[in-house]
């Protein structure tokens, strides 16, 4: 199948939104487009599985590579697309979030049309990033995904939105400044005269073409550049402010998908193309930093009183786990990392969706002013409880599968340094339980602190679609994780054969 369709459909949606005359048409375009994208992603998963059956496991790490179109020929820049198992699950994740996000922002006011225009532009960036295998194209889509955030948060956000929007945009653009240096470094030193990831990786047997001393210079730049988006400590500070100020669907898409661009890029570009550096000094530094991310994020979440801040710090902790697992350098841990990306994307989207809906109703997100919601708005409360339980890694939900795989994979490293880091990271599981259960207990079950809360309405039908869809996905992935694990391991293997 031609992968460009994942960019063309949102482009058509942009056109449709531009032509739409009223709210009804805007919603119509969004629902139609998001459904088509979801259907296409599901089809892609099945087509991918089918195509995988017919070829040996160690062959063809990329599938559906579209014959690359020369773009800027003098500079050897191509528009080349391709997906492997990792990208396939990420595309599926994006489609789920875009679909549910559309319903979660059903009642967005004011300027619904403009809101969805930027929202769709954001999704173009994300899809484009996951389907391209040319570093330049990938980088271009990466930046396309960053900039709509400024207006989405600045115009439609809440709280200190102007500050958060600016902070988020500038920090992420700072990250992409590091990326450009890294990409140019790889391009000029690889000797392959191309931006295409696979060609560089397989040019003269992997990236041995790039001297190790050079790899050690560019590896930290690339890893930090992508790490900023993946909330790597100490560059995570944009994330709590940004997520707390963003409107619901934007928080969902951003925490759910955009932060995964960071982990994906670290794995696909930094580690895959600079393999010698992954055995060096820097990977240990990053391991320590990610361990700090995990524990620090969890501890910070404990002292927050704003529901969105709690979840934002929890995201720092969970996304830290993705990078942590990648730094562990075992195949199992890396599989866990991708699973965690998928699982965290789903559950954090569910979390933000429910929080946004509660906030929309109650007018506050402060834990101290909420209570007894289970009796008043049972549907949203159940959604919140499910998100919480998935977040703390209850078996049966997706979080458990991912974290289990990560920690098992991490423990495969026998030396003391890795063991100590793993044990420290494991403590976050307990801390996560503390802040989640405290929150669930306080806002769902205690006495109603304010009589005004008695008058809240439960979720409307559009909100129910969003929440129910996400719960189904979280539980589905938790109970049937094998297909995802199979697809992912399939893709992680060939990458690791280059790295190790």
């Amino acid at each position: 199948m031609n992968l460009s369709i994942f960019v063309i459909v949102p482009l058509l949606m942009l056109l449709g939104l531009w032509l739409a005359r009223n709210d009804k048409q805007v919603r119509g375009v969004m629902v139609a487009g998001a459904s088509v994208l979801l259907a296409l992603s599901i089809y892609l998963v099945f087509a991918f599985l089918e195509a995988r059956e017919t070829m040996p496991a160690d062959q063809a790490p990329m599938l559906f590579t579209y014959p690359c179109v020369p773009w800027f020929e003098p500079l050897h820049i191509n528009y080349s697309l391709g997906v492997d198992g990792i990208s396939v699950v990420m595309i599926l994740l994006t489609s789920i979030i875009v679909f549910t996000g559309t319903f979660a922002s059903w009642q967005m006011e004011p300027m619904k049309k403009e809101y969805f225009l930027w929202f769709t532009l954001l999704s173009i960036g994300v899809y484009g990033f996951f389907i391209s295998i040319d570093m330049f194209t990938m980088f271009m889509f990466y930046e396309v995904a960053l900039i709509p955030m400024y207006l989405l948060i600045g115009v439609w956000g809440s709280g200190a939105k102007e500050y958060s929007a600016m902070k988020l945009t500038l920090m992420l653009m700072g990250g992409s400044a590091l990326l450009i240096i890294g990409i140019l470094g790889i391009y000029f030193y690889s000797g392959a005269q191309t931006f295409e990831i696979l060609d560089i990786a397989h040019h003269t047997n992997g990236a041995h073409a790039i001297p190790e001393s050079v790899q050690n210079v560019f590896f930290p730049l690339l890893f930090i550049g992508f790490g900023i988006l993946g909330a790597l400590f100490p560059f995570h500070t944009w994330s709590p402010d940004g997520h707390a100020s963003a409107p619901t669907a934007v928080s969902m898409l951003h925490a759910g998908v955009l932060m995964k661009l960071g982990g994906y890029g670290c794995f696909r570009i930094a580690m895959f193309l600079l393999p010698a550096a992954t055995h060096g000094f820097w990977i240990k530094v990053f391991l320590v930093l990610t361990t700090i991310s995990i524990v620090y994020g969890a501890l910070s979440a404990c002292v927050q009183t704003d529901l969105k801040y709690i979840n934002a710090y929890s995201s720092v902790s969970h996304c830290g786990m993705v990078l942590f697992a990648l730094c562990m350098m075992t195949e199992t841990a890396a599989t866990g990392a991708i699973l965690q990306m998928l699982s965290h994307g789903l559950m954090t989207a569910l979390f933000f969706a429910v929080i946004g809906m509660i906030y929309h109703q109650a007018g506050t997100r402060d834990v101290r002013y909420l209570g007894g919601l289970m009796k008043i708005i049972p549907f949203l409360s159940v959604g919140y409880a499910v998100a919480g339980l998935a977040n703390l890694g209850l078996p049966g939900f997706s979080g458990f599968v991912a974290e289990m795989t990560i920690f098992v994979g991490s423990f495969q490293n026998a030396d003391t340094f890795h063991r100590v880091c793993t044990i420290i990271a494991c403590t976050s599981i307990v801390v996560t339980a503390v802040y989640i259960l405290r929150c669930v207990g306080k806002i769902l079950y205690q006495k109603v602190p304010n009589p005004k809360l008695e008058k809240l309405h439960d979720a409307t039908w559009d909100e129910r679609i969003a929440v129910a869809g996400l719960i189904a996905c979280v539980a589905g992935l938790g109970m049937f994780p094998l297909w995802a694990e199979k697809i992912i391991m399939d893709a992680v293997g060939p990458i690791f054969s280059v790295i190790m």
Binding site: P74, L151, A177, I181, G185
Partner: protein, 483 residues
Amino acid sequence: MNYSQFLNMFPEASLMVVLLITFIADFCSSKNSDRQWFNPLVCLLMLAHICFNIYPTEAAEAFGGMYTTGPAAGVLKTILALGTLIVLVQAKEWLSRKDTAFKEGEFYMLIISTLLGMNMMVSANHFLLFFLGLEMASVPMACLVAFDKYRHHSAEAGAKFVLTATFSSGVMIYGISLLYAACGTLYFEDMANVITASPLTIAGMVFFFSGLGFKISLVPFHFWTADSYQGAPTTVTGYLSVVSKGAAAFTLCAILMKVFQPMVEYWTVLLYIVIVLSITIANLFAIRQSDLKRFMAFSSISQAGYIMLAVVGNSAMSVTALTYYVLIYVVANLSVFAIISSIEEHNNGTVQMDSYNGLYKTNPRLAFLMTLALFSLGGIPPFAGMFSKFFVFMAAVQGADIHTTLGGWAYGVVFIALVNTVLSLYYYLLIVKAMFIKHSDNPLPTFQSAFSTKLALAICTVGIVAFGVCSFVFDWISVAANA
């Protein structure tokens, strides 16, 4: 004398024809009548000029090698002409005002003669012709800056421009005389053969460099920029910031790579210092501006730094990246100036940033186009600015070896430039924030811009959107630069 060599100067010749027709038209029509046809006539002539020159010319020379032309220079001349055309189109609204309408013809003639001067400068192969071209571009420019002469600011800006322009010319001609003393010739090719790094030639090069540095307004030669840009009529500011700057940057690039090739390690260091200073200082100053024209002045100084970054690479790729950057910069910056000028006309001449608060509510299209242009200037994809910035960075580190000092610094300078893109994005976003997020108690009322302004904006916006994604524009330049 062989008159057929004039045919090699086709771009200049056709521009001369445009100038003459404009002159005759102005001369033969009554200045008191309503000359609605005048602006379209000049624009069509300019368009014809561009169409005749769109195919890159073959390499050729005239006047015993004083004048040379090649595909790269030809492409740049076409780009400059395109910039001038956009300026002419957007000038209509301002020129039809009562206090300027009677001198409409003068405006066209002055602007076309500066373009002619720049063409000469770009094609020079001898320092004297180069100097003549430079002066021919500078002197009418001073008249343009002071065009609104009864406005205090404009006269002040004109005086400032004249003084700094003559001063920089003086410094430059002194540098050229030192070079003549060292080499005994002023032909570029002959100089390249005999020039070696000695205190005399280094001093000559530095003086020459500072002279052109004034024109490109690189730090530390930038002090005139903010005042002149603020005082000049907005349309002229737009012209000054893109066309004049682009021509000077291309010439500097060509001369550094052609004449001073044996002294490459000296001018590379010089460029590193000037680029880092230009980009950083201009960005820091831009943040504090509240007058949009001053703001764009500092923004254009930092953009000049990015343009010069391409030269660091010292290869054919540098010429390509520089020319491409100039093209993208022309459309993006002129788009911003068209909007500033249009709002100025409908807002009693204010260009304060506060007056843009809540612009999206009342004039959504204008605000949207402004956002696109600012994103392009800030280097956000999918707009063309990101492509041109990326290629400039690519040109700068091409061939640099990170293990050597100079090569390491090439990466270092690109890194500093990249950090500065974040800084520049901050202040571009300040305008976006004013238009989309801030609320105003008395926002600018909804208005319709003149047709000419809309046309200019349409051309610019097509450029911003298409010149990046559609790679044939880049190919066109690349083919010419590598020929």
